[in-house]
Symmetry: C2
Amino acid sequence: MNREQPAPPRIAVIGPGKVGTTLAILLERSRLHVDWFGARDPVRAAEAASYLVRPPAVCPPEEAVREADLVLLTVQDDAIEPVCSALAKAGGVRPGSAWLHCSGALPGSVMANALHHFGCPVGSMHPLQTFPTVEAGVARLPGALVACEGEPNAVSLALRLAKAIGGRPIQIGSDRKQLYHAAAVLACNGLVALVDAALTLTNAAGLPESDARAGLSTILETTLDNIERLGTTAALTGPAARGDAATLNLQYAALRSENGPVLAELYRAINLQALAIAQRSGRLTLEQAEKARSALTPS
Amino acid sequence: MNREQPAPPRIAVIGPGKVGTTLAILLERSRLHVDWFGARDPVRAAEAASYLVRPPAVCPPEEAVREADLVLLTVQDDAIEPVCSALAKAGGVRPGSAWLHCSGALPGSVMANALHHFGCPVGSMHPLQTFPTVEAGVARLPGALVACEGEPNAVSLALRLAKAIGGRPIQIGSDRKQLYHAAAVLACNGLVALVDAALTLTNAAGLPESDARAGLSTILETTLDNIERLGTTAALTGPAARGDAATLNLQYAALRSENGPVLAELYRAINLQALAIAQRSGRLTLEQAEKARSALTPS
């Protein structure tokens, strides 16, 4: 009664940078294995291959894809479509092979024009994680959400790979991927923007940078912990949470006059969202929230 | 040649809620000690006192401040001035006693009108930390930045107390406190706003909430780690960091039409700050940054 495992696909990684190398390492640790690294730069590709116990063959992209069942494209977003077109023209695409890219912003369908002539199902597989180094990627990818979308035969492989590398695979509608990625941008790039803006202000307030950085890190860690344990509604504190229109108005006005529109609009935008949370949860009445919102307009 | 330690001040805490109780516990563990808990509600004050090995005397506020060298006011922001005025009128203020409140938004000078008649130096001491419970406060306050400002005799006591409780004391100009607090609001309330907004989008994208929460927590933890180790410039990733105007425009337009102005403006504001970082650090030219900025305007 044992369920037969599908045969492991023969995999080519095109563009083995930090993401591609990380995926290859984690796939090797599972039952899957990368057979080819396709790259224009054989020196860098050989360096990437040296991370692996059974190093993939390093070859030009058009050779790497020739016998692959699955092609993982781990190039920059703006290179995905041109690389597919070039490979299609070079005649190396194996008919019926599945193609996945790892962009967060783009759907797999950006590869469709170039590859449909070969009957290749296309999709994408985006690990919600940062890869500052290969080592960090290998350490951090397990447990990360991996958003998978695309045509059925592509998405099933994406889900299988995401699970194999220890991720948390989630299938997402292709037309919804934009929203998923906007969420990732808001949270992840937004956090960097907030800390940077806060450091500009603590600097203007005369705080030594090292103290300000340490102090902000400490409270951000505990705020993240509060969010995880209590949810965003209960974790919200500060002037918006208590409908303190006077403080919001004073601080918004001070930022506008002293620090310019970018910081002031950031302050306004996070507080408008905070007011929406406080109102939605009943901590503020509509009248209180409206009063606080009107305190966040240029006087 | 040993330097004499100043005699420990006799301390009254007015309004022993979570912050006041946490401070009293940490002061008791140092060489300092709280002698009085002044509160309108004796039952809650007695409960707070029970946290301490040598419980402070529980009494009405006007009795608590009568013999105190230092009064710590740990009431809500909007109660600080009224409580001072009421105590001044009740005649309980000890001439020359130092008064500190723990508000982040307000300077110590909000107590001056009520207390200067008694020659009381005023100031403030704001721990940059959240206090969801007394236990969490006691665990988290050590290492937290404590911003101290006010008149010389008040601020010197604030710095001494902040050090005694294991904080990272920082003296700040009274006229700069607004900027310091705006920084704390941006970082701390801003993080809650971002996660809440991101969860709205992952929900709209059809992701199960528990997976989205776990996935966002994971990437936010690593992003915070990247910021701490690399700084905000190097930790920045995403469409703004690479000047990807097309993605910024698509996502901004999608949020505007599908999720309304609050989320769209939050997306815009964090990306304008991210573009400022990328431009400042030379990752984007002025032209690239301008092109990306113009992609974040309503079409």
